[in-house]
Amino acid sequence: MFKGKGLIALTGLTVGALAIILMATGNPPNMGMCIACFLRDIAGGLGLHSAAKLQYVRPEIPGIILGAFIAALATKSYRSVGGSSTLTRFVLGFIGMIGLLVFLGCPLRMLLRMSAGDLNAWVGLVGLVVGILIGIWFINRGFTLGRVNRQNSAHGYVFPLIFLVLLIFLLFNSTIFLYSSEGPGAMRAPLLISLGAGLVVGALAQRTRMCLIGPVRDLIMFRDPYLMFGMVGVFVAALVGNLALGNFTLGFENQPIAHTDGLWNFLGMALGGLCFTLIAGCPLRQMISASEGNTDSAVTLFGILLGAATAHNFGLAASPAGVSVNGQVAVMAGLAVVLVIGFALSGARVLQQGRVTESA
């Protein structure tokens, strides 16, 4: 059957195709399966922010987490680990998320927007690549968050269990969550389609280690195209789907849930690219890694969730009208903090002969 490059290409194609199906059955346009947007909606659904149009506990997310968890258990790749710069990862997830919400999407949504002809997303791609390049510069100078330690397996079960509980409440149509009555949060594919798509994506992404930061990073650092097959797969499937359904409109103006401020599309994505390069993977990858037992990634996910809530509580997130002054200040402050973290954690420690040793 499929393995290696074939399997990850198939995974990318499947993610792109499922995103198109989810949009066709009710999810917001060009959003399909945006991890950042869905975590923001979950933050809203849990009452962590009060943007009334962005509240829904998206079933795709528990689906992805449980799909990856089951795949990891079934293939014996589940392993509970943690304890490598956990708080720093939380902070980088938090700041990175603010960058993504100034752009309006994670790297996955960026691909979906690109495939629908949204040229603002192509500006975001340039920002993403620049952010990754800065991250690579730090990594080459010895930036490291250190090594994880093995933990009792039970620690790693906590993260999937939390989302299993959310899913159970969701399946019983619980009224403890908030549900948008208009706006993107009110645009929902049927619950079982969303959940099923999530399970498939989670399992496939766990097996292939799909990531949307890694493709650019590995190509630049090692000329390794493996992960790029997944990224290109998403774009190709979504492009074909958008062309077939007549959703392709080339241009900057009037794109769904997007703004046309090029500078902030660029800087938002650059901040996201830098943060997620330093923590070794895009929001999807963090989520998969957390589902495989990495409790540091789980804490990072909660940093991302809090970042989403903060972005909306303080008006930092962009809207189709553009980026607020608060949002611009937050991106610049975020860049400053991340550069300080980057310098603080590189140089002093040098990777040498497989050991992390203090340099002179």
């Binding site: 490291t144 994880v148 990531c211 890694g214 650092m221 390794d224 990777l351 002969q353 497989g354």
Partner: protein, 72 residues
């Protein structure tokens, strides 16, 4: 077990294992390099990197971790 051509990648996230192995095989040019990995991602990444640079890779499964012997 670790000696000067052993690269201990245990517990490290992407892309550190690949970077460490790349630096080691480039510094040595040929001979034997041993890499220890404890995640599927690191194991597969190291294997792909070494193979693409013309090294032969042998993987030994030690349950909790893998020992990859690279020769050229």
């Amino acid at each position: 077990m670790p000696n000067n051509n052993t690269v201990d990648c245990r517990g490290l996230g992407c892309p550190e294992p690949m970077l460490m192995v790349k630096r080691q095989i480039e510094a040595q040019g040929k001979g034997k390099v041993v890499a220890i990995a404890d995640s599927e991602a690191a194991r597969e990444n190291i294997k792909r990197l070494a193979t693409s640079q013309g090294w032969t890779v042998q993987v030994e499964d030690r349950g909790e971790e893998w020992v990859l012997t690279l020769t050229k």
